[in-house]
Each structure stands twice: as C-alpha cells, then as structure tokens.
Amino acid sequence: GQQVMQIPQYQHVQEGEDFTTYCNSSTTLSNIQWYKQRPGGHPVFLIQLVKSGEVKKQKRLTFQFGEAKKNSSLHITATQTTDVGTYFCALDESNFGNEKLTFGTGTRLTIIP
C-alpha cells in the first residue's frame, strides 16, 4: 500500500488561531475519511468525503476533497483547547479492489492557551 503523508507533522498554535492539515495521495481515491485522536485516546471518525471538490462543514471544521480526488484538507477556524489531538486522514482506494483504509501519518495539534 502507499505511504500517505500528511503535512505538517506537528502544529503548535495559539488558542484562537486557525489550523490546517493536508493529506495527499498518489492515486485517485474512492473516498477519504478524517479521524481525530485525543491524547491517550482512540481514533474517532469525523467525516467522509466522496465527491470531487466536495466541501463539508462541522461547526468550526471545514473539510475539502480535491477536484482530482487525490488530496484533502481539514481546516479548523479559531482553535480551542478541545481541538487538541492528532488528526488522521484515511484513504479508501476501493475502486482498485482494495477494501481497506490506509491511514495517513497524522498531524498532531497542540494549543497554547
């Protein structure tokens, strides 16, 4: 399977600042999913993007799927301390007969109060 790089690997922001993480695939995807893992916790499913160019919002979180379905981003507006954690993208390449998700390396977000 492909190695999925997320950038940045780490991000430290002041509370109230915005945050963005990017996920890039070398292949066209069936869909992409995003997960959040709090420190000491387990990954929790946030959202699934399916359509080319799709944009979805969850309160302060905005998720985008690239037009070519090869990249995605997660943007958090006005971060809060509750946003601390590691954000993972997960790639679904099921169009190519692969029924598994491949997780990105994650972006760890820390908030400076």
């Binding site: 929790v44 959202i47 699934q48 997960a90 029924e99 598994k100 998700l101 990105g104």
Partner: protein
C-alpha cells in the same frame, strides 16, 4: 464507544510467550480490523476481516494470527511475542460498503509491552 470493547487494556508479557488480544463488537458490523500504532508510523493494518470466517493480511501481519468464527469477535494472537511487537493495538469495525457512511469505530486499545 460501548459497542466495541477490547481486553485487556494493558498487558505485559515476556518474549516468546503467546498472547491473545480480544475484540468484541455488538453492532453486527461486517468488517473488523486490527491496527497497531507506534510513534512515527501512525496506524498500520495487521489483519482485517470482511465477515465471519473471512480474514486477510494487512501490511504488518508477520508474527500475528487472527480468527473470526463469530461476527462479533475478532481475537488477535501473537504466536511468540517479540520486543518489536510492543505497541498500542486498536481493534475497529465498520458497516458493509454501500450502507451510507462507513467510518470505522475503534475500541479503546490495548497497550502491550513485551519484556
């Protein structure tokens, strides 16, 4: 999430011993997965199962064995534990594709230390 439970939460074992990590889900999800999480490597797939009695290897399956005789259970066995298998192990489940969103639901994890 109460619907998927892993046991034990913590385990210390000696090199060479066999150890089994348990995973149980109550949703009758078709798919179940085992991942290990290590610093710098993210989540890596060990084994997955599409249904009872159907299992397949992931990218890091060497040294591990799984079974799925019942839909709700998916135990992971380390046949002869090595120090390199010290990790946090997560079990996950998901609905069959085509049933709307099918994000994974993860268990709380098992922290395994091999000494």
């Amino acid at each position: 999430d109460a619907g998927i439970t892993q046991s034990p939460r913590y385990k210390i074992t000696e090199t060479g011993r066999q150890v089994t990590l348990m995973c149980h889900q109550t949703w009758s999800h078709s798919y179940m997965f085992w991942y290990r999480q290590d610093l710098g490597h993210g989540l890596r797939l060990i084994y997955y199962s599409a249904a009872a009695d159907i299992t397949d290897k992931g990218e890091v399956s060497d040294g591990y064995v799984v079974s799925r005789s019942k839909t709700e259970n998916f135990p992971l066995t380390l046949e002869s534990a090595t120090r390199s298998q010290t990790s946090v192990y997560f079990c996950a489940s998901s609905k069959r594709r085509g049933k709307g969103e099918y994000g994974y639901t993860f268990g709380s994890g098992t922290r395994l230390t091999v000494v």
